[in-house]
């Protein structure tokens, strides 16, 4: 497990059915690209978050396949549209096999 990996997500508490709204996500991760070299000139191996997914009540909102060119502390902003109350789940997958998750409830009134 990479060190100090902490997700944050911003989801509104409530939304109207069928009306798109914005979601933002951030996760603290170094995103070692594999391009850097250490002080001896040896390449530092790649170690990044390579996949992100946002789902709602089991259905997918968005996925992303990340490469080393995504900045440290990967940030995403996207839109979701839902018809009912429920829970958003966010999943990040690390090169080292770790999985980080977060979730947020939302009510549709």
């Amino acid at each position: 497990m990479a060190e100090n990996v902490k997700p944050r997500v911003r989801v509104p508490r409530s939304a109207s059915a069928g009306e798109a709204f914005e979601i933002k996500t951030l996760i603290s991760h170094k995103m070692e690209s594999g391009q850097r070299k250490d002080s001896d000139g040896n390449p530092i191996p790649r170690s990044i978050i390579n996949h992100f997914s946002c789902d709602f009540n089991g259905e997918n909102v968005i996925t992303a396949k990340l490469e080393g060119a995504i900045s440290t502390n990967p940030y995403f902003q996207f839109e979701a549209v839902i018809q009912e109350s429920g829970t958003f789940t966010f999943t990040w997958l690390d090169d080292d096999g770790s999985e980080y998750t977060d979730s947020k409830d939302i009510t549709v009134g």
């Binding site: 798109a20 909102v61 968005i62 992303a64 396949k65 900045s71 995403f76 996207f78």
Partner: protein, 139 residues
Amino acid sequence: MQFTRRDTLKMGAGAAVATFMPFQAFADANEEAVMAFAGEMDIMDEGVELTAPEIAENGNTVPISVSAPGAVSILILAMGNPQPRVIEFGFGPLAGAQSASTRCRLAGTQDVVALAKMADGSIKRATSTVKVTIGGCGG
């Protein structure tokens, strides 16, 4: 060779204004990345909006946004990076719009390309040139 301060300044200035020229290896990797996504489809330069700064204050964190109504997926390529693929978004049934924003690393001044694959398999494209400065004192 002894460099005077004037020589060093001239060299530094030259390096700072030089446009990053991708090597042949990069150009091949770029083609491969495009082919892998677009296959044999023709690419139309329309239907995709790519927002990137004209001048990136720091190449380490460059905010970019992409939008392609009706797209199934969008691939972003940095044509001057050692590896062109930056990110590939896939839009699910609950996506409120086929758009997304993120922050990426750009190795130097280059073209950033967004390729959108539409529901009917067609490929749309937008290109944006981003100048990446080499910094001054703190950079």
